[in-house]
Amino acid sequence: MRSYLLKRLPSAALVLLLASFVIFAILRLIPGDPATSLAGPDAGPEAVAAIRARLGLDQPFLTQYAGWLGDLLTGDLGPSYAIGGEVSELIGNGLGATVELTLAALLLVVVLGLAIGLVGATTRRPWVAGALRALTTAVLAVPPFVTGIALVLVFAVTLGLLPPGGHESVLDAPDLAVQYLLLPALCLALPSAAILGRYVKDGLERTLAEDYVRTATALGVPRKRIIRRHALPNALPPVVTVLGMQIGQLLGGAVLVEAIFAWPGLGQLAEQGVVRRDYPVVQDLLLLMVGVFVLVQLLTDLVYAWLDPRIRWE
């Protein structure tokens, strides 16, 4: 296991380093800089110059880049330029909301995915299987902004059951918070649930067709028990991989879903950071997102390897 990790780690670090450079360079290629954004609508050039100097934006590109990496290594993210407050605090707050959304979505993904997979694999009625297949295809293909608008049209505009967007703190008002959470979480969860459902179904069908299952069935073991004890555990490893990949997808998809439902998470923070050219916020945030993606990939590989002994540690 350790050697496997040692083999994977350097390339993960390399991706992170490359990403940091790309992020840093792209931000500075965008016209309009934080100093003008900070200086306000009617600032003079001297005000802009003073702010540039204070923020160190007048230094050479590579010096700034090295400075940023240095700050990262010491763990000091420093203050934000335009939004205000410490970067770590901003990211912490946004992360809270995004994780709340992602976790709720993940819960829905697991519940819906397992349900779809189990029903799909074990039903004996072709129309149920067919309907499920059509449903997962549709849900998978349709982008979240379409499902988002459709959900709002149905549940908020027509039925008036749920709010069209916004956020309430779980700590302050859990009852309201759940209502705000439902639509965005569902919108975010649907495609991943469909993918998971398919994998569960495929995995179950494959294991149910294997010899030992037939033997067990022939020996009179109840089918429920077979599925719970044998088929499901054997179908799980690929499912875990898929789930791992979906966590990355969920975090990425959260950006768009947050925009649709006015959810104050990392997606909104990133958008605001780009719009106001808040370099530190955007840089750290993007690197964090890339880092999470890389980490999730790494962990998935490890968990997969751990769950499936056929994979050797080389």
Partner: protein, 274 residues
């Protein structure tokens, strides 16, 4: 004909799934193609009549600045298809080029793999915001973002295909026969590894429509007043509660396109696997 009428599972595109996909994409694409015949309204002509509901004059009503929505949706379909049919081949070519490059040496393979990782790891919509901020909004940044996003998909498919094919006997035989590595790759391995790419192509079309919509949704899509499905949708958002009809036509068109391409991809995939 007999094949079509049998109850047996039909292969590839002719499966129920494939035909549904073709029908969906076909209907939407034809509507876009024949836009000038289907409507007499100029999609950018404005009038005093804003936010009219569906009716005889304006089939789907008008938008917030008095433009005919039916016409805008039809021409918006054109924009979406044009962007997708430009961006996807570019992404495919680039992805394949990288995959071929990867096949030349271990070191190249390693670098290309990391490049794909990097592209996949980068949040796509943030990339979209950045590219548009640099180039200014318009169709070009949308094409670039889509092409970029498609590179790893095509690249990985082809790379996997090459890895399998080049260990096959015919490839080994050609090598032994003295053909150069590149020649074997291009003449022998590539043609045999191409099938999954067609599937990937259909997936990519579906993703392309998706990305156009998402970018327009965030206000960084095609340049106004040109209509695109995403931009009409994004415009309609502000009127969801007061004029829900505004959103329904673009919503339907986007869904049909994305779903149609996805169904075609699935059908092709099943066909290949047989």
């Amino acid at each position: 004909m007999a094949l079509l009428l049998t109850r047996r599972r039909r292969p590839g595109l002719l499966s129920a799934r494939g035909l549904t996909g073709l029908a969906l994409v076909g209907a939407v694409a034809l509507a876009g193609l024949f836009a000038p015949l289907l409507t007499s309204y100029d999609p950018v002509a404005q009038s005093d009549l804003a936010l009219a509901g569906p009716g005889a004059d304006h089939l789907l009503g008008t938008d917030d600045i008095g433009r005919d929505l039916f016409s805008r949706v039809l021409y918006g379909i054109r924009t979406d298809l044009l962007i997708s049919f430009t961006a996807v081949p570019v992404g495919a070519l680039l992805g394949c080029a990288f995959a071929l490059l990867a096949a030349t040496s271990r070191w190249a393979d390693m670098s290309v793999q990391r490049l794909f990782d990097l592209i996949l790891a980068f949040p796509g919509l943030i990339l979209a915001l950045a590219v548009t901020a640099i180039l200014g909004p318009g169709a070009l940044p949308v094409v670039i973002v889509i092409a970029l996003a498609e590179i790893p998909g095509f690249g990985r498919q082809l790379r996997a295909g090459i890895l399998v094919q080049r260990e096959r006997e015919y490839a080994l035989a050609a090598r032994v026969g003295g053909a150069s590595r590149l020649r074997v790759l291009v003449r022998h391995v590539l043609p045999n590894a191409v099938d999954p790419l067609i599937v990937q192509g259909a997936v990519a079309m579906s993703v392309a429509v998706f990305i156009e919509g998402a970018m327009s949704f965030l206000g960084v899509g095609v340049r106004p007043p040109e209509p695109s499905l995403g931009s009409i949708l994004s415009q309609s958002m502000a009127y969801l509660s007061t004029h829900p009809a505004f959103a329904i036509a673009p919503l339907t068109a986007v869904t049909a396109l994305v779903l149609g391409f996805a169904l075609i991809a699935e059908a092709l995939n099943k066909g290949i696997r047989r």
